[in-house]
């Protein structure tokens, strides 16, 4: 195999794939990236057995071939080579090394045979549809923070993507929860997704996809089956296993009947919560909301350091109520509100509260209170 490739292009591609590789591995081949050169294309592939990312760059190839090299080291080498240099990768059949040449630098990296490299073997995908990158980003952005990290409820360690009826229309809905809070976002169902199974996309996959579409504004092609999902973003293809589990019936915990409605300016609310929570301790991050007609009093009391209170003007006409929340959770949710006004719907101090954007429909958040 002999390949000549432009450094900037190679670095960009490697940057996309090498992140998947874990730093410490019990299986040596998993630390490697698969390099395959064929017909003026150089493709790179990395995997952690649950997730694989493939990207390709234009290159001069003669002859073609493939091998695997340590991913992080290869990335570091390419990163440190001078900008604008042409990199030559050369592997001969008889020695298990890859030679890297650029300008006056020469490296050889030990390789492992390509045949050992695991393949996710995606199998047949049953559903195919496309989403605008911005829509996909919205689905992930607004739910990602609520994903659970608790291993005993592994079926909560991802975003639940499924179809759901909302009024007359069928929607594509993303839900994540960690048992304390829940986030739900929906979009009109794209064609091709009709009848798709409900799937749980793992946290790591979600994070990688978000990085890949960060500056993309094109369409993302999504293919999925019962066990796998594939995102194609330009040249990059990310394939991932799905979490094999049943997402709980989350609809039960969404309190649609809460009658105490509080309307507040989102920016003011966010800033106030942030200010008063400054005095809270590391362990207890509780902020108390004392709500009466037209007035919201936020207070934090920390027996070790002091206390803080702040008053906000709100729209509220129901009976006065006191309720506590984890300030970090409140801030997480407030950050997701896009409009200027947030609406909180409360029942009592021990029941879930519903938080929504006043203007934009399609997203809702549920938060359990704290005992204060």
């Amino acid at each position: 195999m002999k390949v000549t490739v432009e450094r900037t292009a190679l670095l960009k591609s490697l940057g996309r794939v090498h992140r998947v590789v874990e730093r410490r591995n019990t299986i040596p081949i998993l630390a490697n990236v698969l390099i395959r050169a064929d017909k003026s294309k150089l493709s790179l592939k990395a995997t952690d057995l649950d997730l694989e990312v493939i990207d390709s760059v234009d290159a001069e190839v003669s002859p073609g071939g493939s091998t695997t090299v340590p991913a992080h080291m290869f990335y570091e080498i390419v990163r440190k080579l001078p900008e604008g240099s042409q990199i030559v990768l050369e592997a001969s059949g008889d020695r298990a090394v890859l030679a890297i040449r650029a300008g006056r630098s020469r490296f050889t990296l030990q390789t492992l045979p390509e045949s050992d490299f695991p393949d996710l073997a995606a199998g047949d995908m049953t559903h195919k549809f496309t989403l605008a990158a911005s829509d996909l980003k919205r689905l992930i952005d607004k739910t990602q923070f609520a994903i659970s990290t608790e291993e005993t409820r592994y079926y909560l360690n991802g975003i639940y993507l499924h179809t759901a009826g909302s009024g007359k229309a069928t929607m594509l809905r993303a839900v994540a929860t960690d048992g304390h809070r829940l986030a739900q976002v929906e979009l009109p169902l794209p064609s091709g997704a009709t009848g798709m199974p409900g799937i749980i996309v793992p946290r790591k996959t979600v994070g990688e996809v978000l990085r890949l579409i960060e500056d993309a504004d094109a369409e993302v092609a999504i293919e999925l089956s019962q066990g796998k999902i594939r995102f194609s973003i330009g040249d990059v293809v990310l394939t991932s296993k799905l979490i094999d589990g049943t997402f709980p019936d989350y609809a039960r915990v969404i309190p649609l009947g809460n009658d105490k409605e509080l309307v507040v300016d989102k920016k003011d609310f966010e800033a106030s919560v942030d200010r008063v929570s400054t005095v809270s301790s590391e362990r207890g991050r509780a902020v108390k909301l004392s709500i009466s007609a037209g007035k919201l009093m936020l207070s934090v009391t920390n027996p070790d350091s002091g206390s803080a209170t702040e008053e906000l003007e709100i729209e509220y006409a129901s009976d006065p109520i006191e309720i506590g929340f984890n300030s970090r959770y409140l801030l997480d949710i407030a950050a997701q509100i896009e409009g200027e006004v947030a609406v909180l719907r409360l029942a009592d101090a021990g029941s879930p509260t519903l938080i929504q954007d006043k203007d934009a429909a399609g997203a809702l958040y549920v938060l359990m209170p704290m005992r204060v």
Binding site: R24, P118, E151, H180, D244, V253, G324, V372
Partner: protein, 595 residues
């Protein structure tokens, strides 16, 4: 005062000061005599810590009337026929014990040789012999000693409590009993509940049986057999796995030609062999028997013969270290059974009183305004029951994996422990400890293969030492160079250090070299340097290995298990803790009362 010849009695008392230090030394001399007489059954009884009364009965050859008469004379012995001090094949040889004992207590010996028509009895009190008279005894010898040290009251004052002395007697008998599994020992008397160690079969199984009798069954379960020989020297015995240790060196029983010794060369070699497995403050448990041509070892160093001198100490050392390392490497994957036993002990039947509602998914939802001094609590909604991560279950374990020693990975719990299933039990692996050991072994191999990289010093460090230390360091300069320390002579009282191991970074060269010299003076080995290098390797291994909290996929877990099986010493981490515990199906069944 004019010079004069001391009286016989005084000479004996002086000698007694060396040989008879405390009751336990009397017991040692008498039991050794019994063993030398070919006894197969020995009974030892003591009262008052041995001060009031000591009795040793054996079924050995016994003595004739004439021998008995002579036995209590100084320097009279039956054990050195051609007066060849270089070829001592018996435990005793000095001919000092009986007269010394007779000089400080009331000694009575009753004995019958098979050529005599009846037994004879002889008494010695404070060095004064009574006439021999006929007595009744079927065969063998009975030695009784009353009122030890009555003739030397000063010595009496230095004795410890009866309890301590009795314990010392017990220890002496234990050591001798270990070396002779084919002899039955009984230890009785007012001082203790009687114990009997029945004669065991010859060979390793009998030896292990005797050791288990004395050191406890746990030793047997954790023992690794040692058997090695070179140039006429044999080492046999048993060493405990590195996960079975003690906080002191009292669990180290060493024997040279059947004689219990506490010898520096041997203890040092032992430390060296285990240094890679144990933390500094833990000590191995071993019972090792060295047999060598008596000409190669001088036992005539100390009257109590606990120290010996080897003609070729290097051979003894290398054979001991080599055989121990080989055996530990061979059995290295085995972790202490105490792990499994402790696990069993840690299991408690589920009981409703221990159940904590706060840990339960059924935790009550807060109703109303609950205000109190309690820590603020986050309420949760019900989104399903917790359950084990089932990902490892996705692939049905292959039957051939179940047959492997560490089995097939079935699940990972708490993101730290791998649970694997074997044919007859289950294995729990600490993923970080296990992987750390694997990385560490790899690094150690790399050091062995390619040596240690050295940093050349800009200004050589001159370390002043005394001449003997300099000499010792220089004779081992080659070995030190292998570990990356280059030093050369700098006048008679100093060495110049030119290069240091780069792995250690900036170090206190002076401190390390003088540490090394001191250690070499005492133990004749360069362990501190090696230990420091390994310590650095261990730290690097720790950073380079899979941490607790990292989720492993089934393939990764199985790969880890397979590599553990292939790597020596993977049964314990660098700190001597086990990397895995195994629960046998039988143990699990017992937990549930099925058996």
């Amino acid at each position: 005062m004019p010079v004069r010849q001391l009286s016989e009695a005084t000479v004996n008392r002086i000698a007694a000061g060396e040989v008879v230090e405390r009751p336990a030394s009397v017991v040692k001399e008498l039991v050794e005599n019994a063993l030398d007489a070919g006894a197969t059954r020995i009974e030892v009884a003591t009262d008052g810590g041995g001060r009031r009364f000591i009795r040793v009965i054996d079924d050995g050859d016994g003595m004739t009337c004439r021998d008995l008469e002579l036995a209590v004379e100084r320097h009279a012995t039956s054990k050195l026929d051609d007066e060849d001090l270089l070829a001592i094949r018996t435990l005793g040889f000095r001919g000092e014990a009986l007269p010394s004992i007779g000089a400080v207590g009331r000694l009575t010996i009753t004995t019958r040789h098979k050529s005599e028509p009846h037994a004879w009895e002889l008494s010695v009190e404070g060095g004064v012999k009574a006439p021999i008279k006929p007595a009744a005894l079927d065969h063998g010898t009975r030695v009784e000693l009353r009122d030890l040290f009555y003739a030397t009251p000063a010595r009496l004052k230095f004795l410890k409590t009866d309890r301590t002395e009795a314990e010392a007697v017990r220890d002496v008998v234990r050591r001798l009993a270990m070396s002779r599994p084919n002899v039955a020992f009984t230890l009785t008397g007012e001082d203790r509940a009687p114990v009997t160690w029945a004669a065991a079969l010859p060979g390793a199984p009998g030896q292990l049986a005797r050791l288990a009798d004395i050191l406890g069954g746990e030793f047997r379960a954790n023992a690794v057999e040692i058997r090695a020989g070179r140039e006429g020297m044999m080492i046999e015995g048993f060493a405990a796995l590195p996960t079975f240790t003690r906080a002191n060196t009292l669990g180290q029983y060493l024997f040279v030609n059947g004689r219990p010794v506490r010898d520096k060369v041997l203890l040092g070699a032992l430390r060296g062999a285990y240094s890679d497995y144990l933390p500094r403050d833990r000590h191995p448990v071993v019972a090792l028997f060295i047999t060598q041509d008596p000409r190669e070892v001088d036992v005539n160093v100390h009257p109590a013969k606990t120290e010996v001198r080897f003609r070729d100490a290097g051979l003894v050392r290398s054979l001991l270290v080599g055989s121990l390392k080989e055996a530990l490497g061979r059995e290295g994957r085995r972790a202490a059974t105490t792990g499994g036993t402790a696990t069993i002990a840690a299991f408690r039947p589920a009981s409703s009183s221990r159940w904590d509602w706060r840990q339960s998914p059924a935790q009550p939802v807060i109703r109303g305004n609950v205000v109190g001094f309690a820590e603020a609590a986050q309420a949760a909604f019900q989104v399903g029951e917790p359950m084990a991560d089932a990902r490892a279950n996705m692939v049905e374990p292959a039957p051939e994996l179940l047959d492997r020693p560490l089995g097939a990975a079935r699940a990972q719990i708490h993101e730290t422990y791998i649970v694997a299933q074997t044919r007859d039990g289950l294995v729990v692996v600490d993923q970080h400890a296990a992987h750390e050991r694997l990385v560490y072994e790899r690094m150690k191999n790399a050091i062995d293969r390619s040596g240690v990289a050295r940093q050349i010093l800009l200004i050589p460090e001159i370390v002043e030492l005394d001449e003997a230390d300099v000499e010792r360091l220089l004779t081992r300069a080659d070995e030190l160079a292998r570990y990356g320390l280059i030093l050369e002579a700098f006048g008679p009282g100093a060495v110049a250090v030119r290069e240091t191991p780069s792995m250690l970074g900036e170090i206190d060269v002076r401190g390390m070299v003088s540490d090394l010299a001191q250690h070499m003076a005492e133990w004749d080995e360069a362990l501190p340097l090696e230990r420091r290098l390994l310590h650095v390797s261990a730290t690097m291994a720790c950073h380079g290995s899979v941490r607790a909290g990292r989720r492993l996929k089934p393939e990764e877990m199985n790969a880890l298990l397979r590599e553990m099986e292939a790597t020596p010493n993977s049964g314990q981490c660098n700190h001597g803790r086990p990397t895995y515990v195994e629960l046998k199906l039988a143990d699990i069944e017992r937990l549930f009362g099925r058996k």
